[in-house]
Symmetry: C2
């Protein structure tokens, strides 16, 4: 088996970035790949709330990615990548932003869609791979989706996001409006205290 890969989101990670790292690493593991979630910065209070709520460990901090194999989630430009990414091998990208400046020397898996969150795309990737989404993973994915779309109220929200949110809420066994309100309250606490590290 080849070198393990880190699944990692952007610097100054938000909830969608962190839960996408966890959920995509799990999907890769389910497909027999040796992948681990990582993060490029401190966890913010909203994300800490999500990790506590779903009882998930925060991904390990990756300080320097030089020489590593990286799957990028929730971003695709070098100004936002973990330090050392230019000296890393990028193996996959899953994102929902503009197309940035990441180039590769070989063909890779790159999935970018104009939807409200990376979590939305990851839900589809689970389905395509026929991998079951457990309640905990659904809770994480739902959190990324609701955080990025401000509980489906942002202008970036698509019908796909709405359908996926309902399905994830079902699996996670929460009411997404109620849970979303809780999440937003955490968001408004951002800046009140230093990010935990």
């Amino acid at each position: 088996m080849s070198q393990p890969s880190y699944v990692i989101g952007h610097q100054q990670p938000d909830t969608d970035t962190i839960i996408s790292a966890v959920a995509y690493a799990r999907l890769k593991q389910a497909q027999g790949e040796d992948a681990a979630p990582a993060r490029a910065g401190a966890i913010n209070p909203e994300t800490q709330f999500v990790l506590d709520r779903w009882e998930v460990e925060k991904p390990a901090l990756l300080e320097d990615a030089a020489g590593e194999r990286l799957a990028l989630v929730d971003h695709n430009e070098h100004s936002q990548t973990v330090s050392g990414a230019r000296e890393a091998e990028i193996t996959d990208i899953v994102d929902h932003h503009r197309i940035g400046d990441v180039e590769t020397s070989s063909p890779i898996f790159f999935r970018n869609e104009p939807v409200g969150s990376t979590a939305t795309i990851l839900t589809r990737l689970y389905d395509e791979a026929d991998v079951e989404i457990d309640a905990q993973t659904a809770g994480l994915l739902l959190s990324g989706l609701l955080s990025d779309t401000v509980v489906l109220r942002s202008p970036t929200t698509t019908d796909t996001d709405r359908t996926v949110a309902e399905r994830l809420a079902d699996i996670a066994d929460v009411d997404y409006e109620t849970y979303g309100k809780e999440l937003l309250q955490q968001k408004s606490k951002l800046g009140e205290k230093e990010p935990r590290e």
Copy 2:
């Protein structure tokens, strides 16, 4: 409805590029989009054979893409795009090559997979959109796949390509080994005569 878009492959078009432009434009049309296939250069003899065999018109030549909306297929770097592409709006990319230097200002649909042909990915996109592949479209897609993979013998050939080829051959009602041999014979004629224009 917004401005119509051109679906276009790389300069010095090969069979996978031309049939991908046709097949992706058809898929977009089936989804209610106003899309037309185009090409960035002369049709080579192998591709002309394919168009004749499946009774399909060659896409119109697009000389200057400035100001147009473009869906790029079978490439994703500016050195290979139609002239004027830097002044065009790129709306989607479907490809199977290394990640190149195309950047966008907004999120777009970008699907790149390390498989043998763009045709392979397009077949999947038809399935995901639940759009039926008719015999003619299957014949085109199969031609792109067999051309790029040298009838499933190139080192870039994946299991997905093999599965997709069998399915497309079924729909197109051809034996892919026999048809592939015919295709390869056209390929060996490349260079014997000037590309038709």
